[in-house]
Chain length 179, copies 2
């Protein structure tokens, strides 16, 4: 997608956001980060993005303060959302909802987000990422997501079948590392 080089004179908050987020693969990388993917190899497995491109995107996001790179073992690093990164959740959710409403693929919207830590019992998120039960905008860490057909490995649709994709289809809480 877009690059900073030509956006900078646009005097527009959207253009400034796109300088960081607008390139190809960037928003999908961040979506995976919200889903709990943290490692280079897992992002590769799930996205099929060329190594060089993923390397570049992660470096850009780290430099922009959206991701933080931290070692989890000697010589091994993981990428975790910063506060600015977590703050992207409403934008990502809203964009995804639009995709659900207007770009339906075979099977329609297939993923739900539930407010797991809801004092009012929890419900699937509505427009804007609001919880209809308690009326607040839950932080991503208090959400649980599930695919509507977690075991659709029947070959009728071209589902991905790597370990990361299978883990993401099972119900799990956002931001928690994959098993």
């Amino acid at each position: 997608m877009p690059l900073g080089r030509d956006y900078d004179r646009q005097d527009c908050a959207l253009a400034r956001a796109l300088e960081v987020l607008g390139e190809r693969w960037t928003l999908l990388v961040l979506r995976d980060c919200f889903f709990g993917v943290r490692r280079f190899a897992d992002l590769r497995a799930h996205l099929d993005v060329p190594r060089a491109v993923l390397s570049d995107r992660l470096a850009t996001l780290v430099e922009a303060g959206v991701l933080e790179r931290r070692p989890y073992a000697p010589g091994r690093d993981e990428y975790v959302l910063t506060e600015a990164g977590l703050d992207l959740w409403p934008a990502l959710f809203t964009l995804a909802r639009w995709g659900d409403r207007h770009r339906v693929g075979p099977g329609g919207g297939r993923r739900r987000f539930r407010h797991a830590d809801c004092p009012a019992g929890g419900a699937d998120l509505a427009e804007g990422g609001m919880c209809p039960a308690c009326g607040t905008l839950p932080a991503p860490g208090s959400l649980e997501t599930r695919s509507l057909d977690p075991d659709a490995d029947d070959g009728t649709r071209p589902e991905r079948d790597d370990a990361v994709s299978r883990a993401l289809r099972r119900p799990h809480r956002l931001l928690t590392p994959l098993p």
Copy 2:
């Protein structure tokens, strides 16, 4: 930004949205459409996007049902947001808010949106595009936007100075064609 070719197996509403919206310039074109820009030449003047790219993006958006191409004079066409396009407003607004909070340029957030048709008197939009006065999510057509420094043509910042940019800095209602 991103292309459909490699997104299609992602089983994800966000990926489907990005197949249409994820390419370079696309979201800025749509932002201008919300601001009332409708003509090829005006988009060119405001965005400095190559003609071929703008032509391609508009065709993609029309084919995706986000924009509608309609003649306004013999041999002259304009591009107007469809219902699906108008439905993108919360996503664009939320992304722009993120840019305002985390990617502040010189001068900080410089554009406000006010609920002009608000039964409770109106106020600047808050998170998620909600009107704090009446508590609803106003349609883009009932909003008025203004730049916080409409006459900052003092040369201290590299403001654009074409007719479209100047029109967009003045207060005006969204979706209404430029004068």
